[in-house]
Amino acid sequence: MHDRKIDETGEATGRRARGELESGVLAALWAASEPLTARQVQERLPGDLAYTTVLTILSRLHDKGTLVRHRAGRGYAYAPVRDEASDTAQRMHTLLERGSDREAVLARFVSELSEEDEQLLQRLLGEHDGGPADEGP
């Protein structure tokens, strides 16, 4: 009974970690401008994930229909399935661009900047990493 409880929490943590990895992989593929091989995805993810783990996640996302793949050398290169015409993207875009009181429930990553904020921010970031992006897609 006690053991099963531990197993269950372990399983829940595992599922949660898998969900986080899937998000990371999907985000990396969307950020890239071209399809990526498993090796390239692995390089873009933080931490040292095993190659096989990345491969497993990629094929699972492909099975779910989130990714498309084509042959690249001995393996596959993966890209996200695009849906520019989807009404979800449209709806969200309209909501965010026009503004709505529904926005109140969204926890947005960044709020808007005033002009002074923008200059201050440039300075803060400039002081700290001494230049433009040193890492990027």
Binding site: A27, P46, T66, A89, L96, L106, F109, V110, L124, D129
Partner: protein, 336 residues
């Protein structure tokens, strides 16, 4: 009753002035809890005091007095609250309750919308990417909640920064930050003086998620850069017409992340808790005072009624007047 009923108002004002300043300098996780708890207790104190003041006025309406079998004259002689104060309190109470009801309906509607939207978003992953070139990123509360990011946002961040963004939004969902927002929105609707707490609360939640992301990545600078770059990218996107200066929330977050983690101090929390305890105690005292007042007025009404029938008058607490007499007709109707 004279003083104690006004103490919750005083506490509300003190909290509205001091709490936002303190909370911004404090570790965000305890600060968010303190702001939410403080706002809830203060709003209840505010409504309670208004209700007591309103009641002392309403109790002097003859029809109400008759219903409760107490003497209006005795109440007036005893009651230190001016009728105007009482009238203002009644109007304010009604306005507060209306505001609260409207805000509650709106908040529930928005949360239900968010939940539906979570289910409608494509895929069943934690992350839903919008095929949209303008930079957007937000957490959408639901069951389960989703992280929604546009590909425009993903493309303007580096590898580690992307991870920081995901960790930040995940922190919002895991911490159920929408419930904190709900608490602040409702308390601010009930008591407009608490609006600064709601505004600060929004900022503190962002700081909380920033700190959690920093802890997850083990790097504060990466999170600072992610926030800064996302904000700059959003600023380059065509701006909405209604945008005003937002008081520099993003630079403050970046600055906080570039500095060492904020200290966890107990003193402001203890002081805040003491203040709230004073507020509650005062309200309880005021409530018990007004109960005594009503009992006194009921006794007076009963004595008057007995006088009319010519019976001997008993000392308080003895004889027929220790309970409101049930078989007399409208004993509280007359004044002496």
């Amino acid at each position: 009753m004279t003083v104690s009923v006004y103490v919750p108002f005083l506490v509300t004002v003190v909290l509205a002035v001091l709490a936002p300043r303190l909370a911004r300098r404090f570790a965000p996780h305890p600060a968010a809890w303190a702001l939410a708890g403080g706002a809830l207790v203060t709003a209840l104190g505010w409504l309670g005091s208004l209700a007591l003041l309103a009641f002392t006025g309403l109790a002097q309406i003859p029809e109400v007095a008759e219903e409760g079998r107490w003497s209006v004259t005795a109440l007036r002689a005893d009651d230190p609250v001016y009728l105007t104060v009482s009238a203002v309190a009644t109007v304010t109470l009604l306005a507060s309750l209306t505001g609260l009801a409207v805000a509650a309906v709106r908040q529930v509607r928005h949360l239900l919308w968010a939940r539906r939207e979570c289910a409608r978003l494509p895929g069943d992953l934690e992350l839903a990417v919008l095929d949209d070139a303008s930079p957007h990123a937000f957490a959408l509360p639901g069951a389960p909640g989703r992280i929604v990011v546009s590909h425009g946002m993903l493309r303007c961040l580096g590898d580690a920064e992307r991870e920081a963004l995901l960790a930040h939004e995940r922190a919002h969902l895991r911490g159920r930050h929408h419930l904190f927002q709900t608490a602040w929105r409702l308390t601010a609707a009930a008591c407009p003086l608490l609006r600064p707490l709601a505004e600060t609360g929004g900022f503190v939640l962002e700081r909380w998620a920033d700190e959690e992301a920093a802890a997850h990545l083990g790097d504060r600078t990466v999170v600072a850069r992610a926030v800064g770059r996302a904000a700059l990218a959003s600023a380059k996107a065509p701006a909405r017409a209604s945008l005003a200066a937002t008081g520099g929330a993003v630079p403050q977050r970046v600055r906080a992340l570039l500095a060492p983690p904020p200290p966890r101090r107990a003193l402001p929390l203890v002081a805040g808790a003491a203040l709230l305890a004073v507020s509650c105690a005062s309200l309880a005292e005021a409530a018990s005072d007004s109960e005594h007042m009503i009992e006194g007025a009921q006794f007076a009404a009963c004595v008057t009624a007995l006088k009319d029938t010519g019976a001997p008058i008993p000392p308080p607490g003895h004889g027929p007047c220790c309970h409101p007499p049930g078989d007399h007709d409208g004993p509280g109707r007359h004044s002496r």
